[in-house]
Subunit: 155 residues, 2 copies
DNA sequence: CGCCGAACGTTATATTATAACATTGCGCTT
DNA sequence: AAGCGCAATGTTATAATATAACGTTCGGCG
């Protein structure tokens, strides 16, 4: 697992996606929730993709380009979609914080510079050289919180 | 995946571990690094354990009791070991932050109240009801940082 | 042309995790 | 003590996720 997000300051020459990468990315962008690799594969049978390796290769490349993230706690993938907090704008965003609804699986990618700084400080106190971080929080989204209160017992 | 950590204020009646749970916990406590379920199984063959389900059941119970954590990014498990920052003491610790060395796999469990608060705030801004969080950061531990500088190219 | 490297296609297999079901042990009630 | 209930167990099978390995295709370029 060696996935390096793109550097924060974008250099122009984005080498364009291969066909498979474009297909996989479009699939993830079209999905309402994170998708497992095999779910992506199922949706791309019509486009001629047949084997897991094809999906995993594309996902891997997309992660290297910073266009896709892997949600470790779900073994699933999402297209990168920053939600920009209006408060921070232009400032370096922190690492991605994924907020995942346990009920409907809807997922949002947030950022917060304070968290990033705090984690870095924590790590450095241990003499630890930080490389990547994954922050995933689970609970109930607003919609599902409301729904579940009226109707407990639906999975 | 429904793993709830024990409440912060300990109530006495800890229901004691079953044999299998004790074996699995001891194995994780004895390990220098996080272990996959099958690695735990391998180390417990001599004790009569033979099937993955036995291990997963014990791990599951231990997680419910808050004695074991799962590292999502490694599909591996560690015995719970808080490292108490001398600065915070008695105060509610934040969620666990796992710091994992990509080189030697050594892992530390840290806590930081600020991070917890910040994540909660972020989530609440989205109307999100927080349930569990997983924070895992990867990089190089102090020892491996030094080693790798002198000797680049050892995996 | 002929080579090279990157992406691809394909088959097989490794790794991680759970389903399903019969069995055992043990406390409790009757 | 008999019988019940329930939790943990043992066991077999299988699902879900991920990677290895290898040959092929294709486009740029000397």
């Amino acid at each position: 697992m060696t996935r390096d997000a793109a550097p924060h300051l974008p250099d122009r020459p984005e080498p364009a996606l291969t066909r498979n990468q474009a297909l996989v990315l479009a699939t993830l962008e079209a999905a309402a929730t994170p998708l497992g690799a095999y779910a992506v594969l199922d949706r791309l049978r019509d486009d001629g993709l047949k084997a897991p390796a094809q999906i995993y290769r594309a996902l891997s490349a997309l992660q290297d380009k910073g266009l896709v993230h892997r949600l470790e706690c779900l073994n699933a993938f999402v297209a990168c979609r920053h939600v920009h907090d209006p408060a921070e704008d232009g400032a370096p965003p922190g690492p991605a914080v994924f907020v995942i609804c346990d009920h409907c699986s809807a997922t949002r990618e947030l950022t917060d510079p304070v968290i990033g700084g705090q984690i870095e400080r924590l790590a450095r106190n241990q003499g630890f050289g930080l490389h990547t971080s994954s922050i995933e929080v689970r609970g109930l989204c607003a919609a599902c919180s409301r729904a579940t209160q009226n109707d407990p017992g639906t999975t």
